[in-house]
Symmetry: C2
Subunit: 447 residues, 2 copies
């Protein structure tokens, strides 16, 4: 396949945008330059004149299982939001609703230019998430959520014994890790320190080392959460995670909004990764994460849209825009430039997932995880800087084509691997059931 | 015309969303209810099943003259942004580039559901702005920008004598105020206290009273600006505006980010209006305006996208989302709910422009300024609360139809009053000229 005539934003360190062509063969980028010659009629040509070509976005913190609950848990604080809405809703899930939720989210994510996601499942129906990801064609890191400690609010349907939680994790790793030629990967997902026992977290550390899989958890999103951990364990949250052994170079910590003394250095020394979720952090009144301090300390930062009920969109363009803007009143107008947030959305995510050699930038030998933006309307056309155009101006609606390892998931604004009508019908059917089970939480007339 | 079968968000105080029909006749809403009968074949029917119907958005602070400069002035602070980029660019404008800039902005605004805007022009070519607004069909409040005081940075092409500034204002009021059956209105626009003499502002107060036209200015966006006013006049900015007589019930003040002692009460007593521009305030590192304090004090607040180079989008959905989210870490998760920011985007704007009797909500007797959202895709479909859907989830891309006084400006996602191709071609021609004049400021390879 050859992509012709676009402006390439390679995200390779220090390289300026240039107009050129790119060849993808056997799933990898094999040639970039100007006026590449066509290899004959067998080769597919993608005309991209007037378009921007970028590495696909890496959404580094997602909850596909929650997509169905969008617009049903607004204007609430984190712990209320979890206990009154999200946990009861997750406990309610059946296989069918889980599949509907996953597909609704995958459609939006792929359509908006995400080629890789790191997803946290619910406690049950994790196979359904992997099956949906498999069919969609996305590059997927996911895992079942682990909750073996009752803080008094965890619904019965989500609480498990330590043994059951670990046993199911081991089964899922065996079934899904590196399936589909490595496109699917497992990430062990203890929910957060508040709902996990010491024993569980120590076993997670061992499993991660044994199987060489990621650890994906939430950390220090909210003061209430940090206080709960301190009350139980006597340690600040990040320090506690280090103590039980899960602060590793294969660990992705979502949020990290409130860092206590020395915790940024702990993260830097451990080479752990932060998945920054600016919309979610604002919407749940959690705060503004100290991203410039992380970067200054050498901590790698990725971006994520989190779940649909706390955002309420799964659009990387929105996260880039917000990630940049919210730092400026604090750190000045040059803080987190357009280029820097785009780097977080691509290479930052690749590093977080241990995939920096394979994805995150357009370089010879990397996977053909590539998106094409076609800003061909008065709202989207730009006479200015393309990084500003991507980070501040465009939205998921500009994404024309999406390729994962050279395979097209979206072409000419049409999704190829997912059935638009079926995704909507399945969601409607699950919403009808959800409304029956939770008539108050889903009423449609809040004023 | 009859709109059938939609969910109506009337924004009438305390009214819950309901499914129903709406009839518009002679430009006004004449009937709302369920299963309205068709009045025969002469009446146009708009099928809106599955759609949301809302009052059109009021964009209460816009600079159409700057749309062309989008993505050319990023990651900069307000005064640098003005002096190094925006003022030289505005001084460069010719009639043709001004028209291209206006049309580029009007297309985006209308397409995104704005039916009314309050625009601040540049110093010259103001007739072009009114002509463009006239042709587009939008409800337009605008006026030439007044700058008669050199702070050492105002380009010659923008600086005027007090007399010339006022003379041209009077001419424009006579030509445009209440033109097109009242659809176009004048708003006198001293830029900000930093670039206006006392004498000019006192005359503006008189002109506004004589002609019963709005005053539209910037105020207290930035500490540097506030200090400049204090150094010159010895007063805090809002207090100074009161002193020269322009703090009236017909005054719209953009920004109001930094309020000094007693200034919120001054605004409340004067019944002046705040146009809140959250994207712009973050992007220029200005800060976060104390909107909950304004509302608690009884100050009316509207929303605006400001100019394209400091946002970089002209989309009310983005402003609603941000306006709500940025207050939550400061004031808690219930601050500025989805409903409240939607109210600011509609009725708040109507009150600011003195049009609360005519626009801003769906009520019998009000103008037929109505938009229809069609969230008929997996990314946009919702099983939850429609206010959250509008404020947090959707974007301008969901706007299917736009009507001003019952006249269609957009139908079935197609713009009717503006030529998409011509708008883009004219913009490209002006960008080519701009690049020749400012090769450094418009280079496309910032990293």
């Amino acid at each position: 396949m050859i992509i012709k005539g676009a402006t390439l934003l390679t995200m390779r360190d220090g390289e300026s945008p240039f107009v050129g062509d790119m060849r993808i063969d056997q799933g990898r980028i094999v040639e970039m330059g100007s006026a590449l010659l066509h290899k004959g009629s067998a080769e597919e040509e993608v005309d991209a004149h007037g378009c921007l070509v970028l590495p696909g976005f890496v959404q580094a913190h997602i909850h596909l299982c929650q997509t169905l609950f969008r617009n049903m848990a607004d204007d609430m604080e984190l712990l209320d939001w979890l206990r009154q809405r999200i946990w009861p809703f997750e406990a309610w899930h059946q296989e069918e609703s889980m599949r509907a939720s996953a597909n609704l989210g995958l459609f939006e994510l792929i359509s908006g230019g995400a080629t890789t996601i790191l997803d946290m499942g619910s406690v049950h129906h994790t196979d359904v998430l992997f099956e949906a990801a498999l069919e969609s064609g996305i590059r997927y890191f996911g895992g079942k959520c682990l909750m073996d400690l009752d803080d008094g609010y965890v619904p019965k349907g989500l609480l498990e014994s330590t043994e059951d939680a670990l046993k199911e994790t081991v089964r899922l790793i065996a079934r899904w890790h590196k399936a589909a030629e490595g496109r699917l990967r497992y990430a062990i997902a203890p929910r957060f320190a508040v709902s996990c026992t010491d024993q569980l977290l120590r076993e997670v550390a061992k499993l991660s080392a044994t199987h060489q899989v990621l650890i994906h958890t939430h950390a220090s999103e909210n003061e209430g959460e940090i206080n709960a951990v301190k009350d139980r364990c006597g340690l600040d949250n990040i320090r506690y995670l280090e103590d039980v052994g899960i602060l590793t170079k294969n660990t992705v910590l979502a949020h990290c909004v409130h860092m206590k003394g020395g915790e940024i250095e702990l993260l830097a020394n451990a080479k752990s990764h932060v998945a920054h979720c600016p919309s979610s952090n604002l919407k749940l009144a959690s705060g503004i994460a100290p991203i410039p301090d992380f970067l200054a300390a050498g901590v790698n930062v990725a971006l994520g849209a989190d779940g649909a009920p706390c955002n309420n969109r799964l659009d990387m363009f929105r996260e880039m825009h917000l990630a940049s803007l919210i730092q400026k009143p604090i750190h000045g107008p040059r803080a987190l430039s357009a280029y820097e947030v785009l780097e977080m959305a691509t290479m930052g995510g690749a590093r977080a997932l241990g995939m920096a050699e394979d994805i995150g930038s357009l370089e010879l030998g990397k996977m053909g995880d590539v998106i094409i933006l076609d800003p061909n309307s008065p709202e989207e056309l730009s006479g200015g800087d393309p990084y500003a155009q991507v980070a501040f101006h465009l939205s998921g609606a500009s994404v024309r084509d999406v390729f994962v390892a050279g395979k097209a998931l979206k072409r000419d604004f049409e999704m190829l691997t997912m059935d638009r009508g079926a995704v909507m019908e399945d969601a409607e059917r699950s919403w009808a059931l959800l409304r029956k089970s939770f008539p108050d939480a889903t009423r449609r007339s809040v004023t």
